[in-house]
């Protein structure tokens, strides 16, 4: 009531932003993620060691003033590998999420606009993909695709689109019946116009929230694959294959810095991204002001 009496209220985007910024957990997530991101992206400018530099005088040395996070079994700096691993993990997660966004949106749009038969068959396919536990499907696909950065991206993006396509479909089905879409159709708008001028802008909240949460998920999937030795193969660093070292009893028991730091980085990044994603979801939901 008060808002109506005011001469001008903030737009929906500004209100979303203020909702996001007043969410403590989301801001905390941002405060954790930003420094991590900056460190990961700029480490070669300020950190003296490269991820694959070998220091034979420092094998399996614990954290010290020169090697902050210690060194591994062949004398490589753990901090440098951790930061490079972060780059790889974020690269794999980012690219695979981008691919699954495209697939998810297109499949969802096809189901919503393509008529009953297309809708039925694509949604059954989605059901089927969601029946198998994701990790099982991940292992099966990884066994076919092999190891390496590109196959890992391929496997993860192939795995993560079904949920999104379902959400997009639900939104577009509702949108299809709205007056402005009916009007656009009546004026002869083609599918392309409907999808990208009307569909996409109205799905943007779903896509942003999904992308954020899915990045966290993709980081975990990549780490899981690499942990089992099926994702990013050494000598390339990733958080998962650094944790893989801990499958050897000696590393697990005696050189804890070699796996606890990457593990902590992984959980910290995933937690921060999840907080941000939850904050974004609440911020985009106009009803959340009512609580």
């Amino acid at each position: 009531m008060v808002a109506i009496a005011l001469p001008r209220s903030n737009g929906p985007l500004a209100r979303s932003l203020s909702r996001f910024l007043s969410n403590g957990a989301a801001v905390a997530g941002l405060m954790i993620l930003l420094p991590v991101l900056i460190a990961v992206l700029t480490y070669d400018l300020w950190w003296p060691y490269a991820p694959n530099d070998i220091d034979l005088r420092a094998l399996n040395k614990g954290p010290s003033a020169t090697h902050w996070f210690g060194t591994d079994g062949v004398g490589r700096d753990v901090l440098a590998r951790l930061l490079q691993g972060g780059r790889i993990s974020l690269l794999v997660a980012g690219v695979s999420v981008a691919i699954s966004l495209v697939i998810g949106f297109l499949v969802g749009a096809l189901a919503a606009f393509g008529g009953r038969i297309t809708d039925g068959s694509t949604m059954r396919l989605v059901d089927l993909c969601m029946t198998l536990p994701p990790v099982i499907l991940l292992l099966v696909l990884a066994s076919i695709a092999g190891t390496g950065i590109v196959p890992t991206i391929f496997v993860i993006s192939l795995l993560s689109w079904p949920v999104l396509s379902r959400m997009v479909r639900a939104r577009l089905l509702e949108l299809r019946e709205r007056d402005f879409v009916v009007a656009a159709r009546g004026m002869g708008a083609n599918l392309w116009h409907l999808l990208f001028r009307h569909g996409l802008p109205n799905c943007i909240d779903i896509l942003v929230v999904y992308a954020t949460l899915q990045i966290a998920n993709a980081i975990l999937l990549e780490a899981g694959l690499s942990f089992l030795g099926l994702g990013i193969p050494p000598p390339e660093a990733s958080w998962g294959n650094m944790l893989n070292a801990a499958r050897s009893t000696v590393v697990l028991e005696q050189y804890v810095w070699q796996w606890m730091f990457p593990g902590a980085a992984l959980v910290l990044a995933v937690l921060a991204i999840n907080f941000i994603g939850d904050g974004l979801r609440d911020a985009f939901d106009p009803r959340s002001d009512l609580n």
Binding site: R124, D127, L128, I136, L139, L228, L252, L271
Partner: protein, 319 residues
């Protein structure tokens, strides 16, 4: 009710068929010659014999024909031979691993249900207290930390630092079988496996309990003078549990995912370890056989969950 069960059964069967098509297609996409799965590598063979086997197995037939032949064999339990372990039938390998996995997952599930529901109730009853906030944060960390990391941490602290749990395997090698020995090996992996599920159940339980506690009949019960403990346990809990039942069914997939990592860290001789070893050695018949069995189990569990849900909740329209 009967028509509902029949309809769900039919749907489950359809899903199973679709799953078998998927597995078959993936099996053919996999590198290598499918004939490897059917011959015993210990027996030497000439090219003519290979061609004869190929013809006998129908591998020279078109794909749809091959599919139905494969499906017929799979339905009678013939999933081919392991490439890696020569001459061992896939079905035997899979069957001897089901028991340990079921034991691990069932224990984990019981632990997570008890833990999740109890902490969920506490969180809802003491809403916004320090306990509640602490539990919620713990649940968030539990959901965000991957199973392989919690497994490593659990192994490090309980087996290496405090030395109160064995460091892997299901039984002490060489020792005679005893239930105590099995339990000692079981409790740590099962507890670690339950973390993720417990955290998820807790969040749902808390939310659904909060909703129920605000309803009129709960207020009525309190107004009648029912003691708070009985209001929660007898009146509110029953209704609050309903959505959680569906959730438990849908977390089975997550639990299987977790079990794969836990089994591989703890060397637990279950399906997960079988699957990981098979993927590492590219033993495709075993991978696909295990996938088929796991997928069938998941479909069955979902079916059971749906039926349980319909049986427990009288408000569900059984149509």
């Amino acid at each position: 009710m009967l028509t509902f069960i029949l309809r769900r059964l039919a749907l489950g069967l359809l899903m199973l068929i679709a799953l078998s098509v998927l597995v078959f297609v993936l099996l053919r996409l996999a590198p290598g010659d499918p004939i490897d799965a059917y011959i015993d590598p210990n027996v030497s063979m000439s090219r003519a014999e290979m061609a004869a086997i190929r013809a006998r197995l129908g591998l020279d037939q078109p794909m749809p024909v091959q599919y139905f032949a494969w499906l017929g064999a799979a339905a009678t339990g013939d999933l081919g031979y392991s490439i890696q372990r020569s001459g061992v039938r896939v079905l035997e390998l899979v069957f001897e691993r089901i028991g340990p996995t079921l034991l691990l997952m069932a224990t984990g599930l019981v632990l997570s249900i008890v833990l999740g529901i109890a902490t969920g109730i506490i969180g809802a009853v003491r809403r916004n207290s320090t306990t509640d906030v602490g539990l919620s944060v713990a649940a968030f960390v539990g959901i965000s930390s991957p199973a392989f990391l919690t497994a490593l941490l659990g192994l490090y602290f309980f087996s290496v630092q405090f030395r109160i749990a064995p460091s892997g395997g299901m039984l002490t090698p060489g020792a005679p079988f005893s239930v105590g020995d099995l339990l000692a090996h079981l409790i740590l992996p099962a507890a670690l496996l339950s973390i993720g599920q417990a955290a998820l159940i807790m969040r749902y339980m808390r939310a659904s309990m909060l909703e129920v506690l605000n309803q009129d009949y709960v207020r009525t019960a309190r107004a009648k003078g029912v003691r708070e403990f009985f209001v929660i346990v007898k009146h509110a809990l029953r209704n609050a549990l309903l959505p959680v039942i569906t959730l438990i069914g849908s977390t089975i997939g997550m639990a299987i995912g977790g079990a794969i990592f836990i089994e591989s860290v703890f060397n637990w001789p279950g399906m997960g370890l079988l699957m990981v070893n098979a993927v590492e050695t590219r033993d495709y018949p075993v991978i696909m056989g295990a996938t088929l069995v796991i997928g069938a189990c998941v479909i069955l569990v979902n079916l059971l969950t749906d039926i349980t849900y319909a049986a427990v909740d009288p408000r569900i329209q059984v149509a």
